[in-house]
Symmetry: C2
Subunit: 457 residues, 2 copies
């Protein structure tokens, strides 16, 4: 993962081309010989990238996605890119997507859907030999915006280390340059571009960050982007050192027998700092660190599961195995932020930004921002309580089941969806009042029970 | 270094005391038995800290600094703290400082001077047995503010890892709590406090961050401070892992003979990631990483110095020794951001925020924010050029010396102050135009030649 420093602030726009070529020759000399696919929207950043590559004598082709999200504007963007291809004498590839439909089907946000569609298509183009590398126009301001978004969501060192300059066949050669520099050069060269109207809309998180927060941050120091670039490079390198260190630990600690990984509890107990070491050591299995820590103190036989793995406390060891779906006897199941569907122990579908009111027996719509991931599915335990929807006082779950006249067998087959220690939903019965959608809710999450019987597809 | 998580956002102020006591008992149980010195200004944060400790039954004394920076207001603060001492039946220690004079003498900012005076006095109080620990009222918002300040200045992982909860005898038990929580509890308890008028003045960096940036950041996510606390804890732990890793490297790489440290160049060349490894390995000597990297590729005999050390390339090794002041033959001298005075090879004094116009032969006043630290002192080299003050074109240094009719001997004895590759000041002759003070200058730095002959003290 490489991050490059932002250039001097007294940057003369007319020196942009020379700086760009220096940057290419120093870090990506192989781009000079190859056919390059430029991911192009028609906006300032990607137009400058395509034109700089052309001015540098590189062989380019343009790849444009039409997401059909802004009506005629989307088609005008496509037309603009086609004309640019003619001017630059470069092949143009375009692809049309029904982004809204795809997002709805996958239960994901429009932005995420567009991203998934875009990179899948770029991958196909590379696979078909339309280019040896894909170039994107991410720049220094994008890195700062991503940093702030990740900061607001809670992230580790990876999320703060910047957008990688090289990621497989994807290269980002504009990362050292600021948005201001790119725009200045474009204006100086009198190039045209397409304004993306959604960009000036501050209702989206990224636009709020771009138009309100980033200018404030830059005003803190005359060299802010440059200093920030250094910080990101340092963090990225610290991240590599941590990976090296953990790799050494992993070799010492884990023993493999077939599909099973075995690790001694006493060695995990001695790790320092424990939380971060456990996080990296077990990251591939998607167990929450706090639950691993509980397992370190648990009795033999205690189990937890993630989407694909089960971990069992077995005397002085932890055993980790891939789940054989039918036979898991685990009592806890974890649901991470990116999961859209689970099949066991209850079949649940998750869709974000979906406000449909649904039958409380079949599903709930909740305030997503109140959740702490990963969510946990478990059976009820003695002493459990929650705040039934519409009530401000807590109620013991045993009392709730009694009042609702739930048969013992059903009660013992009922799953609870939990966020941290709090019950979010007594599945099939009642939502917790603390997680309901209110006037202040920004992001919603719909969770529906999807039994085979009810599935009409 | 410990960082604790911010509490739930649906925090009831009346639960503050219980949460505070839980936090004390979990992380600092030893505070229960000791006499505690509370660093108290009279503002909300320190008043809440003192009163919480009192409500929890801890034995406290109050330590108040009167910096005499706000006239009668400063004395009223002191009076307020004395009365609070009577109410809480706690001893009150106060100290008066002539902060402005101290700052002027030391050539440092008022804030830095106040900090230095404050902690020196606290140290004396602890030394005299007035308390076993010093408690300060830093809270979650302070951590976020410090993070942003460090981000704007360029920092490594340490600068992003938060204010330490324990630092020797100094304990900060309010770090998990937000400013809002502390203020809410204070209002609920109907306690009085002293408003610090300088706090609402946004001309200072920290106040700009506090009143403009932090509210924006918090609005990005309903749980921002909590997520941010997690991120900081993770970064602090990654920092520890990096330290562990580097400690292992250091043992492998460095050999000591008397005062001399010896390290093989080929082993340094193999380090990955090189920049961060070099940074931590050589941090104690204050050599800039870029210069160490140049020395890795330099010929035998090449030398660099920092304030206290000299590093020499000696065939396949680097040798590092403490400087014997008189005998250094190094060609480069580095000046870090915190140095206020150097004695060799030229005697220079540095004072920030000082706008006195001075004789260009004896000193210069420059735009500090245009400097990249560490600065470098070196002799002139063939091909050197700069932008003499008042000129927009560059001029070769050889031509400059010729035009100024500088004798050969003086020319060869002239030192250049450099920032990165740029010459800032041909010492004793001319400032570079790029570094002059302009209407946009925010921070100034005065550098004066302080020859023994001119020194009248």
């Amino acid at each position: 993962m490489e991050v490059f420093l932002a250039l001097e602030k007294n940057f003369y726009f007319s020196r942009m081309l020379a700086s760009f070529e220096e940057h290419i020759d120093k870090h990506f000399p192989f781009l000079r010989q190859a056919r390059l696919l430029i991911a192009i929207s028609g906006g300032i950043d990607s137009v400058v990238l395509a034109r700089l590559c052309d001015q540098s004598g590189m062989k380019i082709a343009l790849a444009h996605c039409n997401f059909h999200l802004r009506g005629a504007d989307s088609d005008d963007d496509e037309e603009f890119v086609r004309k640019l291809g003619t001017i630059l004498n470069a092949p143009v590839y375009t692809q049309h997507f029904d982004t809204r439909k795809y997002a709805a089907e996958k239960g994901m946000s429009i932005q995420l859907a567009a991203r998934e569609l875009r990179y899948a298509w770029f991958g196909r183009l590379l696979g078909e030999g339309k280019g040896a590398y894909l170039l994107t126009a991410h720049h220094a301001d994008d890195s700062l915006e991503t940093f702030l978004i990740n900061l607001s969501r809670g992230t580790g060192i990876e999320g703060l280390s910047g957008i990688p300059a090289v990621n497989g066949k994807i290269i980002r050669p504009l990362l050292p340059f600021s948005r201001e520099t790119l725009k200045g050069y474009l204006l100086e060269q009198q190039w045209t571009w397409r304004e993306d109207v959604s960009n000036s809309d501050t209702k989206y998180l990224r636009n709020k960050i771009r138009h309100q927060m980033v200018p404030e941050l830059k005003s803190l120091s005359p060299d802010f982007l440059k200093q920030f670039g250094r910080t990101q490079q340092h963090l990225a390198e610290c991240g590599l050192i941590v990976e090296n260190y953990i790799e050494g630990l992993r070799k010492d600690l884990f023993r493999q027998e077939g599909d099973r990984r075995i690790v001694a509890v006493d060695k995990l107990e001695q790790l320092h700092p424990q939380e971060t070491c456990l996080y990296y050591l077990f990251r591939e299995f998607s167990f929450p660190v706090a639950e691993i820590q509980k397992l370190l103190r648990a009795m033999s036989g205690k189990k937890i599961t993630s989407e694909k793995f089960i971990m069992v406390r077995d005397r002085e060891h932890l055993l980790i195995e891939p789940i054989a779906q039918e036979e898991t006897g685990a009592s806890y199941f974890f649901i991470t932020d990116d999961i859209r569907e689970i099949g066991y122990p209850v079949r649940l579908l998750f869709s974000e930004g979906d406000n449909d009111v649904i039958n409380p027996g079949n599903g709930v719509t909740i305030d997503k921002d109140k959740l702490n991931y990963p969510l946990k599915l478990r059976k009820w335990e003695k002493g459990d309580y929650f705040y039934p929807l519409g009530m401000t006082n807590r109620k013991k779950l045993s009392k709730f089941f009694k009042d609702e006249k739930v048969p013992v067998l059903d009660k013992n087959n009922t799953w609870l969806l939990c966020s941290g220690d709090a019950i979010v939903w007594v599945i099939g019965y009642r939502l917790d009042n603390r997680f309901k959608v209110t006037a202040e809710t920004v992001n919603t999450l719909k969770i529906s029970i999807h039994s085979e019987a009810k599935n009409e597809n």
